[in-house]
């Protein structure tokens, strides 16, 4: 099987697992929606303020709960499943790419739902070139998915894995958060978004290179 064939198979397998467990849609998304609702309640009746923090809150929620979406491997993954994939001779880089693609797809869907909820609950300021938000969102989702997959491989088999995740992913995801939030802010102010888009693209490229190059050593370290 070719590299991309393996990637396709791993992606389908990951999405199938998610369809069976339903973790993203039945647990994480309602919880994130509840978080979106608690912030205006805590702020009180200050509609201009709520409207102005709409997009920043959206990106914070996308990062914090998106981490959970991309980190769902932890609850699904078993050593036996991993060993089977290794014994089947799947390229570790293909495994990394497939899992990152599956997480990216789920994250993109999750962010569409959260974006719609943000618009309904916060009525954020209108974005002049809103289609760019889709590009920003896709770059953010791809970066976060790769980072969480990398962190998942890095902590494979460790007892404290679930508590270690936020500590590893959150600081390294800050360039993604800053890039996405600043690009959205530039859209609001009708100024150039190119530097921020480049930052997101660069972060994605770096993560892809590191993820693919370290896939084999990390697999060897965990077995």
């Amino acid at each position: 099987m070719t590299f991309w064939g393996q990637v396709r198979a791993i992606t389908s397998y990951e999405l199938l697992l998610e369809r069976r467990s339903g973790e993203t849609w039945s647990i994480i998304t309602p919880f994130a929606a509840a978080a979106l609702m608690t912030i205006p309640l805590a702020i009180g009746i200050n509609l201009p303020l709520i409207s102005s923090i709409g997009w920043p809150i959206f990106w914070s929620i996308a990062l914090l709960f998106g981490m959970q979406v991309a980190w769902r491997h932890v609850s699904n993954e078993r050593n036996a499943m991993r060993d089977t994939i290794i014994l089947l001779g799947v390229d570790p880089a293909a495994r990394f790419t497939g899992r990152a693609v599956a997480s990216g797809v789920l994250l993109a869907g999750f962010m569409v739902v959260m974006g719609a909820l943000t618009v309904f609950l916060y009525t954020p300021h209108h974005l002049n070139r809103w289609p760019w938000l889709i590009v920003i969102g896709l770059l953010f989702a791809a970066g976060l998915a790769q980072l969480a997959t990398l962190a998942s491989d890095l902590t494979l088999g460790l007892g404290a894995r679930s508590s270690l995740a936020p500590l590893l992913v959150a600081p390294l995801a800050l360039p993604l958060l800053i890039g996405a939030a600043q690009a959205t802010d530039s859209l609001l102010r009708s100024s150039g978004i190119l530097p921020w888009l480049l930052m997101l693209v660069l972060a994605n490229l770096l993560l892809a290179i590191v993820g693919v190059l370290t896939a084999r050593p990390l697999q060897e370290a965990a077995t």
């Binding site: 890095l154 902590t155 390294l172 050593p217 370290a221 965990a222």
Partner: protein, 247 residues
């Protein structure tokens, strides 16, 4: 550990303590700045602490790279020890920066300042590195996993250093450049002396931590052998258990 090695570490620690005490006195005795007044003295602690933190994280990356080639545990110890000390110096750098920032900038922490924000992220990433080391019990796995993070994380060091050049904000750019310094010679002397003193403190702490790492490894090896020796493989010729093993 031999007596001479213990003595060497003690002497190094004493010397580092003495030199750094002298450095702090020198920092305190520098003349006040025209604008920042006596607050400028904090820079003599803040800047050397951050320089040494960068050095420490560089050594972590170097130790990680060499471990990947040699698989010698000593390099992994070096990487881990250096990260611990790097985190300590980053905390010192951040805290002194915040103490200086309040009277001079009006805030303890300015989120719009790329140097401060990126330093905070750098600290969190290396805290994560140390957490990963602590969470991995098997030494080989620990070395393998943390070496990858140690190599990847060091990318942030140049980002933090050059952040003031890439994005203009409250933070000043480098005062010491290849072409010369913008500082008064008295202030520069104190700053450079402290840089040397803090580097010596780093070396002393590293040598002590390396000794501790060797002792930890020896203890772990003893514990493994003790657990292993409790399980004795069955042998022929022992007391009869009703026919079992008699054949």
């Amino acid at each position: 550990m031999t007596q001479s090695a213990q003595m060497r570490v003690k002497l190094l620690m004493a010397l580092a303590g003495l030199v750094s005490a002298l450095g702090i006195w020198l920092a305190y005795s520098t003349p006040p700045d025209a604008l920042q007044r006596t607050y400028a003295r904090i820079i003599n602690i803040h800047a050397p602490a951050m320089w040494v933190a960068f050095l420490a994280f560089g050594v972590t990356a170097l130790g990680s790279i060499v471990w990947r080639f040699t698989r010698n545990r000593r390099w992994d110890h070096l990487a881990g020890a250096s990260a611990e000390i790097g985190v300590l110096f980053t905390v010192i750098g951040l805290v002194t920066g915040m103490i200086w920032g309040k009277p001079v900038w009006g805030v303890y922490f300015d989120w719009a300042d790329p140097r401060m924000a990126s330093t905070a992220v750098l600290l969190l990433v290396y805290v994560g590195y140390l957490a990963l080391r602590r969470a991995t019990i098997d030494p080989e796995q620990r070395a393998s996993r943390s070496s990858i993070l140690g190599i990847v994380a060091v990318i942030q060091v140049p980002l933090v250093y050059f952040s003031v050049n890439l994005m203009r904000s409250l933070h000043q750019t480098q005062s010491i450049r290849p072409g010369g310094s913008t500082m008064h010679p008295t202030m520069l002397r104190a700053l450079l002396f402290n840089l040397g003193a803090f580097t010596l403190v780093y070396v002393a702490l590293m040598s002590a931590r390396m000794v501790v790492a060797r002792l930890e490894e020896a203890r772990a090896a003893r514990e493994v052998s003790a657990a292993g020796s409790a399980v004795i493989p069955p042998t022929l010729g022992g007391p009869s258990l009703g026919g079992i093993g008699d054949g």
